[in-house]
C-alpha cells in the first residue's frame, strides 16, 4: 500500500534530516510544556509539575531515538558515526593499530600476490572463444624438432593437414610451431625507410586456421586466415601482438601501411591482435604471428613445410559440439595410424610398424593453454600458497589477540555505556565496525602491497634477464578473493571480542577498576591464539630451513665444469644470409675465436651449440659389436677447439679437438666418461669408431678423447651421455660463445663484443651473461621457494613475537595490582620477571610441542621438492626451535621487565 510514496517520504527525510529533527524536537517540547502548564493549573508546584510531565512523557532521548528509527535512515547514520568513532578509537592507540594494519597488509598482500601468480600460471583460461572445447594432441610436454617415424607430442605440418581433412571430431584444427623463432628484424615507418637499428623479435609460426579456430578477432585489420597458409612461400604477412604494437610502433593507428623485415624478407602487417590475447603458451608471448607457409623465410629458415617426417608442431583442435574427449581420442588415434602409413615416403620397416602399433596419443584439454611454467611452478606455487595462507592465519590471530586485549581493556567503558542504556547489539555493532574498518584499511594496504609484490615475484620466477610476459594484474576475481578474506577476518575476529566484551557482569566491571576479574587471571582464547601462532611459526620456520639447505645443497653440486669466470653470449648470423653449412660461417667463427684469444684478460674461448640448460640435440650412436638399444640417447654438442679449456672439463684420455681436425680429415669425436663406460666394451677406446644417427657411412666417427662427465640440462640429473663434435667437421648455424677470463667482467665483455663487431658488423650479439648466472637460473624455482619461505617464516615469527608481546603487555597491565602487592610483601624483582616469563615460556613450549609433529608430518609432503635431504632432520628442527625460543624470549622479556619495575606504592595507590 503506497510503497512508492513511502520510499519517496523516506528519501525526503534523508535529505531534510535536520528539518525533521527540529520539527520533532519542537513538537515534543510543546507537548511537555502544555502538560506542565496543565499540572500547574491543577495546583502543583512548578518543580512537581515539570517532574510529572517528564515522568508521564517517558525517556525523551530514547523516544527521539525511536522516532528517528522510524525514518529508517538511522542504520546508515549510526554506521557513519560508528566509523568516525572507530577511526578515533583506533588512532588513540596508534602502535597497536599500526601493528594490526601491517599484519593484515602483509598477510593479505602476500596472499593476493601469490594467488595472482598462481592464477596466471595454473588457473586462468585462455582469453579465447569457449576455451573448454580446445584439446591438444599429446600432453604439451615437448617442444623442438624431431625426426622420427612417429611422435605423440609433436607433429609434422603435412600430418596436421591430413588430420584437418580427415577427422570427424573437430570443428577445426590448428598447428603451432612448438618454438618461437627469435629473429632480428626492422620495422619500417610508413614512408618505407627503416629505423636505425634492428631489434630482437619473437615470431611464432602458426597455421592459417590458428586465429579462426581460437575465435580471436583482430583489434585492427585482420588476423591470419586459411588463405595465408595454402601455398608455400608467397604470403609474407604478419599479425602483431598488441603489446608489440604498443611498445615498438607506439600504437600507430596507420600500422597497416607499415612493413617489417625479418631476416632478408619484407612482411606486410595485416593486423594487430587484441590486447588480452598473448598466444597459446602461458608465460611466452610472441611479438607476432606469421603463417607456417612462410617458415623458410623466417630465420633460421626451417624447411619443414612439406616434410612428412620432421615433427615440430603442436596440434590443437576444437571439439565439435557434443563430441566427448574419448570419441575424439578414438578418432585421432585411428587417423594417426592411417596418416603415418599413408605418407609415400614412409619407411614401413617391421620395427617402425611395431612402434606405430604401440603408439597411443593422449588428448589433453587445452582451456588453459600450453605452458612449461606450469610443470615447473605448480608445486612451488601451491606450496607457497599454503605458506602465505598460514601467515594470514597468524596475522589474523594477531589481530584477534590485539582486538581481544583492547576490548577487554575497554570493558569498563563498555559497561558504563551499557549502564547508560546502550543496547548490547548496538555495542557489538560498534566494535564490529571498528574491526571492519581495520580490516578494510588493512585490505586496502594489502592490495597496494600485492601490486608491488607482484612485480617482484614475477622477476623472481623469470629465469632469464627478460621478465616473463604474464598478466598478473589484480583482476576482479582476485579482489573478490582478497575482500572475502578481509571481511571474514573482520567479522570472525571482530565478533569474538565484541561478544565477550559485552557479555559482562556490569556490576563487576564497574566495581573493579582494572577490568573484570574473570579475564584478569585467565584469558584462554588469547593464550590459545598465541600457542597456535607459535606452532604455525615453527612449521613455517622448519620448512624455510629445509628449503634453504636444499638450495644450498643444489648450489654445491659440482657440474663437472668450472662455473666461475666465464663470459657467455649468443651470436646470431641470420642477417648475413648464409646457410648453416656455408664454409664462410665456419670461417667467421674461427676468425672470431682467434681474434678474441688475443684480447687482454682472455684465457680461453670457444663456440658451442650448448653450454648448460639450453635444450639439446640428441641422437643414437651405433657401436660395432655392442647391442644397439635405441632407447639410449646421447646428447650431441658441437664445439670449437678451445671448448674443454674454456669450460675446464678435465680430459681423461687421448686428446681434444685441434687444428689438425679439418673439414676433410677423418671425422673425430670426444666422448664423455659415462658414454665410454656404458656404451663401449672395456679397454682402450682411443681410435675406435662408432656411427651416429642413421649410421650412414659419412656419419662414422673416430674417438680421439674421453672427458669427465658434466651436467648438461640441470644440476639434479645423473651422469648423462654426451658426445662432442667439432663445428669444423659438423657445421652448426648459430650458437653460444664462451670466454674464460680474468679481471673485470665488464671490461672483458665490452672488448669481446667490440672485437666481434669489428670482424663483422652484421653479427647480432645477445644474451650476454656469465656461465655462473646461467647455472643459477636453473635453480629459479628452488630459489623462489627458499627465499619466499624464509621471508614468510621470518614474518611469521615476527608476527608471533608481536602477538606474544601484546598478550604479555596486556597481562602485565592487568596484573599491576597483584604485582604491586607481591612486591610490597617482599617479592624480588627477579621473581616478578620470572612470574611473567614463566607464563610466556610455557605458552611457547606448548606451541613447540604441537608444532614439531605438525612440521614433521608437513615436511613429508614436500619431501620431493627437497634436494639432498630426507625430510626433517634434527639439525633443521633444532635450528627452528632455537630461533623461535630466542625471539619469543626477547618479545616476552620486555613486558616482564616492565612488570619487575612496577613501583608497589604506585600500583596500589592507583584506583
Amino acid at each position: 500500500m503506497g510503497l512508492p510514496g513511502e520510499i519517496k517520504r523516506r528519501i525526503q527525510v534523508l535529505l531534510h534530516r535536520e528539518q525533521f529533527e527540529s520539527d520533532l524536537e519542537e513538537e515534543m517540547r510543546l507537548h511537555l510544556e502544555l502538560r506542565r502548564q496543565r499540572q500547574i493549573d491543577r495546583g502543583l508546584s512548578v518543580e512537581a509539575a515539570t517532574r510529572a510531565a517528564y515522568i508521564k512523557f517517558g525517556n525523551k532521548t530514547r523516544i527521539k531515538e525511536k522516532s528517528v528509527m522510524a525514518w529508517g535512515s538511522e542504520t546508515l547514520e549510526s554506521f557513519l558515526s560508528d566509523i568516525a568513532y572507530g577511526a578515533r578509537a583506533l588512532l588513540r592507540s596508534p602502535a597497536l593499530t599500526l601493528v594490526a594494519l601491517i599484519s593484515l597488509a602483509l598477510g593479505i598482500g602476500a596472499n593476493t600476490a601469490i594467488f595472482s601468480l598462481l592464477d596466471a600460471v595454473l588457473l586462468r583460461s585462455l582469453p579465447v572463444k569457449d576455451p573448454q572445447q580446445l584439446v591438444l594432441l599429446g600432453q604439451g610436454q615437448a617442444s623442438g624438432i624431431g625426426e622420427n617415424f612417429v611422435m605423440t607430442e609433436l607433429y609434422s605440418y603435412p600430418f596436421y593437414r591430413q588430420l584437418q581433412q580427415k577427422n570427424a571430431v573437430f570443428s577445426d584444427v590448428a598447428a603451432i610451431f612448438s618454438m618461437t623463432n627469435d629473429v632480428h628484424g626492422f620495422v619500417f615507418n610508413s614512408v618505407g625507410s627503416s629505423s636505425a637499428d634492428s631489434e630482437l623479435m619473437h615470431v611464432n609460426l602458426v597455421s592459417g586456421t590458428y586465429f579462426p579456430m581460437l575465435g580471436v578477432h583482430a583489434e585492427i585489420g585482420r588476423t591470419l586466415t586459411e588463405a595465408d597458409d595454402n601455398s608455400e612461400g608467397d604470403h609474407p604477412v604478419v599479425v602483431l601482438s598488441n603489446h608489440f604494437w604498443k611498445r615498438v610502433l607506439a600504437s600507430d593507428p596507420n600500422v597497416l601501411n607499415r612493413k617489417i623485415k625479418l631476416g632478408t624478407t619484407i612482411f606486410t602487417i595485416v593486423g594487430v591482435a587484441p590486447a588480452e590475447f598473448f598466444g597459446t603458451r602461458v608465460g611466452q608471448s610472441p611479438d607476432m604471428w606469421v603463417p607456417i607457409s612462410m617458415m623458410r623465410f623466417v630465420p633460421p629458415g626451417y624447411d619443414f613445410y612439406k616434410q612428412n617426417f620432421v615433427e615440430s608442431m603442436n596440434v590443437m583442435g576444437r571439439l565439435k559440439p557434443g563430441v566427448s574427449l574419448e570419441q575424439a581420442s578414438t578418432n585421432v588415434n585411428l587417423l594417426l595410424q592411417q596418416i603415418v602409413r599413408g605418407f609415400p615416403d614412409a619407411n614401413l620397416s617391421e620395427k617402425n610398424l611395431a612402434k606405430l602399433a604401440k603408439t597411443h596419443v593422449a588428448l589433453t584439454p587445452m582451456s588453459k593453454g600450453l605452458s612449461w611454467l606450469r610443470g615447473e611452478f605448480s608445486e612451488p606455487l601451491q606450496l607457497l600458497m599454503v605458506v602465505v595462507a598460514l601467515v594470514l592465519l597468524i596475522a589474523c590471530a594477531n589481530i584477534a589477540n590485539l582486538l581481544l586485549a583492547r576490548a577487554t581493556a575497554r570493558a569498563r567503558e563498555l559497561a558504563v555505556r551499557q549502564a547508560l542504556g546502550a543496547r548490547r547489539s548496538r555495542l557489538i555493532r560498534q566494535l564490529l565496525t571498528e574491526s571492519l574498518l581495520l580490516a578494510l584499511v588493512g585490505g586496502g594496504l594489502g592490495i597496494g602491497f600485492a601490486m608491488v609484490a607482484n612485480g617482484f615475484l614475477l622477476r623472481m620466477v623469470s629465469e632469464g634477464p627478460d621478465i616473463l610476459p604474464l598478466d598478473v594484474g589484480l583482476n576482479m576475481r582476485l579482489l573478490g578473493f582478497t575482500f572475502a578474506v578481509t571481511l571474514a577476518t573482520a567479522i570472525l575476529f571482530g565478533t569474538i571480542p565484541a561478544f565477550r566484551a559485552t557479555r559482562l557482569h556490569l556490576i563487576d566491571s564497574l566495581k573493579d577498576g582494572r577490568g573484570p576479574s574473570g579475564v584478569r587471571s585467565r584469558n584462554p582464547l588469547a593464550k590459545l591464539l598465541v600457542v597456535s601462532q607459535v606452532a604455525l611459526s615453527l612449521v613455517l620456520m622448519v620448512g624455510a630451513v629445509l628449503f634453504l639447505r636444499s638450495l644450498n645443497n643444489l648450489n654445491h653440486i659440482d657440474p663437472g665444469f668450472n662455473r666461475e669466470n666465464v663470459l657467455r653470449l649468443q651470436i646470431e648470423t641470420d642477417e648475413l644470409g648464409y646457410k648453416d653449412d656455408d664454409p664462410r660461417l665456419t670461417a667467421l667463427y674461427q676468425q672470431i675465436e682467434s681474434r678474441v684469444s688475443t684480447l687482454p684478460g682472455v684465457k680461453a674461448e670457444s663456440f658451442s651449440a650448448f653450454t648448460f640448460h639450453e635444450g639439446s640435440w640428441s641422437d643414437n650412436i651405433f657401436v660395432p659389436g655392442m647391442p644397439n638399444d635405441e632407447g639410449v640417447t646421447v646428447h650431441q654438442n658441437v664445439v670449437g677447439n678451445g671448448y674443454f679449456d674454456t669450460m675446464q672439463i678435465p680430459l681423461i684420455a687421448g686428446r681434444t679437438f685441434s687444428t689438425t681436425d679439418t673439414a676433410t680429415s677423418q671425422r673425430v669425436a670426444v666422448i664423455s666418461e659415462h658414454v665410454a663406460k656404458t656404451l663401449f666394451p672395456p679397454g682402450n677406446l682411443i681410435g675406435r669408431h662408432f656411427g651416429l644417427g642413421d649410421n650412414k657411412l659419412e656419419n662414422d666417427f673416430e674417438i680421439i678423447g674421453i672427458v669427465k662427465d658434466v651436467k648438461f640440462q640441470n644440476l639434479k640429473e645423473q651422469q648423462e651421455n654426451i658426445n662432442y663434435l667439432s663445428y669444423v667437421q659438423h657445421p652448426w648455424g648459430f650458437g653460444d660463445f664462451e670466454v674464460r677470463y680474468t679481471g673485470d667482467f665488464r671490461d672483458v665483455s665490452t672488448s669481446v663484443q667490440q672485437a666481434i663487431k669489428g670482424i663483422n658488423h652484421n653479427v647480432r650479439i645477445s644474451h650476454v651473461t656469465t656461465l655462473d648466472e646461467q647455472v643459477a637460473r636453473t635453480m629459479t624455482n628452488q630459489r623462489l621457494v627458499a627465499q619466499l619461505s624464509t621471508f614468510f617464516g621470518m614474518l611469521a615469527v615476527f608476527l608471533s613475537a608481536i602477538g606474544i608481546y601484546g598478550l604479555m603487555s596486556y597481562v602485565v597491565s592487568c596484573r599491576t595490582n597483584e604485582i604491586g602487592i607481591r612486591m610490597a610483601l617482599g617479592a624480588a624483582r627477579f621473581n616478578v620477571s620470572w612470574l611473567v616469563m614463566r607464563e610466556i615460556l610455557l605458552l611457547v613450549a606448548i606451541g613447540i610441542a604441537i608444532g614439531v609433529p605438525v612440521a614433521l608430518a608437513g615436511d613429508r609432503l614436500v619431501a620431493n621438492m627437497l634436494f639432498g635431504l630426507k625430510g626433517t632432520d634434527a639439525l633443521s628442527l633444532a635450528a627452528a626451535v632455537l630461533l623461535l625460543l630466542v625471539v619469543a624470549s626477547v618479545a616476552g622479556y620486555i613486558p616482564a621487565r616492565r612488570a619487575s619495575q612496577v613501583d608497589p606504592m604506585e600500583a596500589l595507590r592507583y584506583e
Binding site: 517520504r9 520533532l24 508521564k56 522516532s67
Partner: protein
C-alpha cells in the same frame, strides 16, 4: 484510581480512531483525547505517541502540517489521509477479531 497500560498493538488504532473523530489534532491533544475518551483508564506513555506518529507519517496514513494553537503556539497538526482511513478499518477488524477470540476464551472458561 488505577490506570492501565494500552494493550500492545492498539496504539495505531487509538490514534487513527481519535483522528477520525476529531479530524485535526496535535500530539498533546491526541494524548489528552485518548485519556479522556477512555475516561482516564488508558494511560499512554505520552512520548511513545511520537515514534508511532513518525511511522504513520512515513506509511502515509496521516499528514502533518504546522499551525497555531488557541494559545498562539506553533504546533504540528495531524490529519487522516484516505490510506489512513483504510488502515483504520483494517485495524478495527483486527481488533474485533482478537477481542472476539479473547471473549470466547473467557466465556467458555
Amino acid at each position: 484510581m488505577s490506570r492501565d497500560e494500552i494493550p500492545p498493538g492498539t496504539l495505531y488504532l487509538l490514534i487513527l480512531k481519535t483522528l477520525a473523530v476529531r479530524k485535526k489534532l496535535h500530539g498533546y491533544e491526541i494524548a489528552e483525547s485518548i485519556e479522556q475518551q477512555s475516561e482516564e483508564i488508558l494511560q499512554v506513555e505520552e512520548g511513545s505517541l511520537y515514534p508511532a506518529l513518525q511511522r504513520m507519517l512515513i506509511k502515509g496514513w496521516v499528514l502533518a502540517e504546522w499551525g497555531t494553537t488557541a494559545g498562539n503556539r506553533r504546533a504540528r497538526y495531524y490529519t487522516l489521509t484516505p490510506d489512513g482511513k483504510k488502515q483504520l478499518a483494517l485495524e478495527l477488524k483486527k481488533f474485533e477479531r482478537v477481542m472476539g477470540a479473547v471473549a470466547k476464551v473467557i466465556q467458555t472458561a
